[in-house]
Symmetry: C2
Subunit: 311 residues, 2 copies
């Protein structure tokens, strides 16, 4: 994917997304011994960066494809993002979600006009349900992270950050399915001045870390992390980009995630997801490398259940 594709993508999705604010905190700078610029995608429409990729993927469909709608399987932010992006564009969005998903997530999808199909919580049931929808309606499947158009869309957050702060030395993102970090790494490569991309990943779901080591996509045996947005796996579209353009993946403990999340809430006064805090936790683990540097951090989202906080 080239520079022009990112520029076109940004132009295309602009009317459907917020150019989110960038915040910082003297105290966090002092703690990390660097200047941090937090790109607040928790303030994005529907509360996460996923809106960018979802909007771009739908906007790239042909008129006939738009007519037949889109489908994805997700119980996270991408389900809401695809629903809202589709609604904004007058397109139908089918969302396949396990019956066992929290009622609040199902409600959110319905609230954004998504058509919910519930299934058993196995990979097989999920794929079958998706297949049936595609056969019946001729809908286009859009993967939450392993899709070129989605990756381009997610990269636009970093483009906006670099427009404001062109001389960032590093940009940190959390790593889940790999869409955000792949898009970010492309944006940093094309629009930064030697700006390096580093990912933060929980030790508990360190598939990206291990994949970069082994050179092939590794699987997580378990996904026991508070960062529930990061339980997903890399894919064949985003992994090559990550291999080529990501400097390093830094693993962090569950305790580091929660304490970094608390620092963000207390100091930036914003509500972010545990996944977002993984990026800051990674920065705190790289203090020597970052000393005196300018560091962008993508705060990925802010959809949390306030009655289930880890504090």
């Amino acid at each position: 994917m080239d520079k022009q594709q990112l520029i076109d993508c940004h132009q295309r999705i602009k009317p459907f997304i917020h150019d989110t604010p960038v915040l910082n905190s003297r105290l966090i700078n002092k703690m990390g011994n660097a200047s941090f610029y937090f790109k607040c995608e928790n303030f994005q429409r529907m509360g996460a960066f996923k809106m960018r990729g979802a909007a771009n993927a739908i906007l790239q469909l042909t008129d006939e494809q738009k007519q037949n709608g889109v489908v994805t399987h997700s119980s996270g932010n991408f389900a809401q993002a695809l629903s809202l992006a589709a609604q904004s564009l007058g397109v139908k969005a089918h969302i396949v979600m396990p019956k066992s998903a929290p009622e609040v997530k199902k409600e959110a999808v319905r609230g954004y006009g998504g058509i919910l199909t519930e299934c058993e919580s196995t990979l097989h049931a999920r794929e079958q349900a998706t297949e049936r929808i595609i056969e019946k309606h001729g809908t286009t499947f859009i993967h939450p992270s392993n899709d070129d158009q989605v990756i381009l869309g997610q990269g636009t957050a970093c483009m906006e950050l670099l427009e404001l702060y062109p001389d960032l030395d590093y940009v940190f993102t959390p790593v889940g399915g790999g869409g955000l970090i792949a898009g970010t790494a492309l944006a940093a490569h094309y629009f930064g001045k030697n700006c390096k991309t580093i990912g933060g990943e929980p030790f508990e779901v360190d598939d990206a870390y291990r994949s970069l080591q082994s050179g092939k996509i590794e699987i997580n045996a378990s996904t026991n992390t508070v960062a529930d947005g990061l339980k997903t796996q890399l894919g064949d579209k985003n992994f090559p980009i990550i291999q080529k353009h990501v400097e390093e993946i830094v693993r962090v403990s569950e305790q580091e995630i929660v304490s970094s999340m608390r620092i963000i809430w207390e100091r930036l006064k914003i509500v972010c997801e545990p996944s977002s805090a993984v990026a800051l936790a990674a920065c705190f683990n790289k203090k020597e490398l970052l000393s005196g540097k300018k560091v962008g951090i993508i705060i990925s989202g802010g959809n949390v259940d306030l009655s289930k906080l880890p504090y």
Copy 2:
């Protein structure tokens, strides 16, 4: 106090404060049937609007007064604000606080360079401790809310809001000691186009509501509210301004405060104090009046103890 005094005050404090962002949410607009503009003073330095008044009060001192330092009694945001404003200006700030105040508040004051004097938690002990400091050091007493320079400073948040949105129909603030609402009402009067100021106040500490009814400053017999920033009383400097320029005080229940706070956290993705939510709760109680109108809301601050949330 006149228009020019507000303009001068704003110019004076600008280097020491943030011009905080204004956020909004389509969903909250839909819930309240109006267009809401949230002026986010939780993003202010030290986390609350109090920084504005504290900075202005210190900046108005003579050189000799600055030499001798300032003193206040507060266990809330003003203690931190005066400490940080004084530190920024190279002035000593003495803070009188009851021994029983939470350790985290004492730490915050010390962190901003304030000189802490602890006393028993009676009005008498507090006043005595303050007197002793004034006698010993010749310090100038600065009241957290009943001080003309503090009132002017607090008004600058509304000035900034009206610079961005000059045609607001209403501006809502919480009412505690009366400094914020008095300053806001002056700003709305001088800089708005028929912009009316309305206060939100918990039923549990409705001294301002009763004072406006009776025409004299009323006292709270008890202060049993989650909005801990609003337990203070009106004073003789701000009450006449409130009488002249505030349209109405709207009382809200504790349940309404907590549910409005949750809406702000979940929809705006920001961390605000219960006190801030009182203003939105008041708006929800005036839906008919506000229907289709443009409504500013001052989010007063974001200093909350995350381990003691009401959700």
